[in-house]
């Protein structure tokens, strides 16, 4: 086997570093998914499309001459209201219904968003050029774009802010209480409807940040949403709900896996390998649990 990865150790280092920086972004999206999954018990298939929409906001700022890095501030604000709107229109009608209904409903939203973005922004692969240059490491053998380092840094910053916000603020406490027991929270005077809306909005805002960062570091395209949904779903089921270090670790692990799959199998199988990995992880979990006569639920 003459894979480049194994012959040149520097490429391995490159793949690992790329993967970790990418994985931090995945972890940010997955954090949003874990939040709304834990609080509202909804799996949002449209998660990836919210990410892409956030990316387009940054891209449009770039087109109009504003530095796309400001998208990190603007995109979450806009996406927060988009999230609230989606919640008011669709999600609040499926919150306490069968899970499959919510999956199908968000799948519909996903198709809707995909196509609307296709109409509004065109079917081209675009990226917002941040002009940050690159960093060379190890005698120029490892090349890291500064934009990736920037995006990882911003992701960690936002995640940290959110964790502190959830711990300290009143709304954060209300969200955590609702996640633990919605009924009890209601009895104790928490307006769960408001909490749900805020949760979905925060989730969408996180997606907006991640999308803005993705538009700087990678490329965006209207149909690229679903892989982000699947990645974040995968990260959440590996880490478990409410396990933040786990989310971060498995996000980075997934990033490294993807980079290696890219080098070894070829770029055309990259997305395919992500989806296959999801199936394998689920099957592995299922066999592991079935020994204890339990199942994933």
């Amino acid at each position: 086997m003459d894979f480049l990865v194994f012959q040149y150790p520097m490429i391995t280092v490159q793949a690992c570093l790329d993967g970790i920086l990418l994985g931090v972004l995945f972890a940010l999206i997955a954090y949003g998914m874990a939040l709304q999954w834990g609080v509202m018990n909804i799996i949002n298939i449209a998660q990836g499309d919210l990410v892409i929409l956030g990316g387009y906001i940054a891209y449009f700022m770039y087109l109009y001459g504003i530095h796309p890095a400001w998208g990190v501030i603007v995109a979450p604000v806009i996406m927060y209201f988009v999230g609230i709107a989606i919640y008011k229109l669709v999600i609040n009608k499926v919150v306490d219904r069968d899970l499959f209904i919510s999956i199908l409903a968000t799948f519909g939203i996903s198709i809707l968003f995909m196509q609307l973005m296709n109409f509004a922004f065109g079917a081209d692969v675009v990226l917002a050029n941040s002009g940050y240059g690159t960093t060379m490491l190890f005698d120029s053998n490892v090349v890291l774009p500064n934009s990736k380092i920037f995006s990882a840094f911003i992701s960690i910053l936002f995640a940290a802010c959110l964790v502190i916000y959830m711990k300290k603020s009143k709304l954060g406490r209300a969200i955590r209480a609702t996640a633990q027991n919605a009924r009890a929270a209601k009895i104790l005077g928490v307006d769960t409807e408001k909490v749900y809306a805020a949760t979905f909005g925060i989730n969408a805002a996180l997606c907006g940040v991640a999308g803005a960062l993705i538009s700087i570091t990678f490329t965006i395209h209207p149909y690229m949403g679903l892989p982000y949904t699947i990645r974040s779903f995968m990260i959440v089921i590996v880490a478990g709900l409410g396990n933040l270090p786990g989310v971060a670790m498995s996000g980075m692990g997934l990033g490294v896996f993807e980079e290696f799959a890219d080098y070894i199998l070829g770029t055309e199988f990259r997305i395919g390998s992500v989806f296959l990995l999801l199936v394998l992880i689920l099957v592995y979990r299922r066999f592991k649990l079935s020994r204890k006569r339990e199942y994933l639920k």
């Binding site: 669709v90 899970l99 499959f100 198709i111 809707l112 296959l276 066999f287 994933l296």
Partner: protein, 349 residues
């Protein structure tokens, strides 16, 4: 019973006469037959068994690729066919075409069934939304991977053998119509006979409470796998026919088209009413008429309309047409209703 017999004979006569009555709609009618097959078989495990799968598109696409590959590969080298764009270099004689199609359809039905049996044990152990997402992943993964395989055309697609010249211009449409209509009848008979046995009750028991069903001594895993295999058999068959009908296979846009066909089958079954025999058939017919009638008016906005349609149906109409009829006229479904009780329930709502 007598009513039903007249109904069946009427539908049969209509089906046989349809291509001659509406010669312009032959392709549409064939697609309708394929859609009904897909919706009905999705309903076996989606509606009756309660395992909502987004992954039946896997078997559909697999059948499509297998049927076309066998049809070409039996007589010509497959790699050269896809390399040269196929139909220009090699030409099937009518005998070769029909032989290839027959063998191809058999392979297209058998192989997905075996695959469903093999992966069934691992996948069907998942429940609820994990199952739904896992099958969604399977379908997309299959599309992405088949898009990278050179021998079946990779990204640029795969042309299925063109219909041979048998003297009549109408022959192609009629052949595919009767093929799909025959498959539809086969599916209907199979599903109907399944639904009149204990097997259906077991599937319903699994849907209603799997743990309890297992505690009652039913080997749920065995029946779940069998149910999925039946779905896979007919999905593969439908895929094979659809491949010949469309004439061109692309990995993500035609074969493993989770965004279109994969959602359609779920949507049709839900629109008609999950867990009923006639629901998916009615749902598919209405959906197809709506799609063909209004798609052209939306002019590129059809996916937007599809997204809205999914959300609206799922939120406001999850019981489907049959479910709605059942609530309205329970006597017609053989349910004995206590009038007082019903009124009380209506008031409660």
């Amino acid at each position: 019973m007598k009513n039903n017999l007249i109904l069946y004979i009427g539908i049969l006569i209509f089906g046989l006469a349809a291509p001659f009555l509406f010669p312009a709609f032959k392709v549409q009618l064939s697609i309708l037959c394929v859609l009904i097959v897909l919706a009905t078989t999705w309903n076996i495990q989606g509606g009756e068994m309660g395992y909502n799968s987004f992954g039946n598109i896997l078997f559909y696409g697999l059948g499509m690729y297998l049927c076309a590959s066998v049809q070409v590969g039996m007589f010509f080298p497959l790699a050269e066919w896809t390399e040269s764009g196929g139909e220009k270099t090699f030409v099937h004689t009518p005998t070769q075409f029909f032989q290839g199609m027959a063998v191809g359809l058999i392979v297209a039905a058998i192989v997905p069934t075996i695959i469903a049996g093999l992966i069934g044990y691992s996948i069907l152990g998942l429940r609820g939304h994990y199952f739904a997402i896992c099958t969604l992943g399977l379908g997309v993964a299959a599309g992405e991977i088949s898009g990278g395989i050179e021998i079946i055309g990779a990204g640029q697609g795969f042309t299925t053998p063109p219909f041979p010249d048998v003297g009549s211009l109408e022959a192609r449409g009629e052949f595919f119509y009767f093929l799909s209509f025959f498959t539809l009848i086969l599916t209907f008979i199979a599903v109907r006979s399944i639904y009149s046995t204990r097997f259906k009750l077991i599937l319903n028991a699994i849907r209603d409470n799997e743990d309890k069903a297992e505690a009652m001594g039913i080997e749920t895993m065995k029946y779940k796998i069998i149910g999925w295999m039946i779905s896979a058999f007919f999905c593969g068959l439908a895929g094979g026919i659809m491949g010949g009908l469309v004439g061109y296979i692309d990995s993500t846009d035609v074969a493993f088209d989770g965004r279109e066909m994969g959602v359609f089958m779920v949507l049709m079954a839900i629109l008609g009413g999950k867990g009923t025999l006639w629901g998916p058939i009615i749902g598919a017919t209405i959906f197809h008429i709506f799609k063909e009638g209004f798609w052209t008016f939306f002019l590129g906005w059809q996916y937007v309309a599809l997204g809205v349609l999914i959300v609206v149906i799922v939120i406001y109409f999850p019981e489907g047409i049959m479910g709605w009829l059942r609530e309205k006229y329970p006597e017609r479904f053989g349910e004995v209703v206590d009038e007082k009780d019903r009124k009380a329930q209506v008031e409660l709502k």
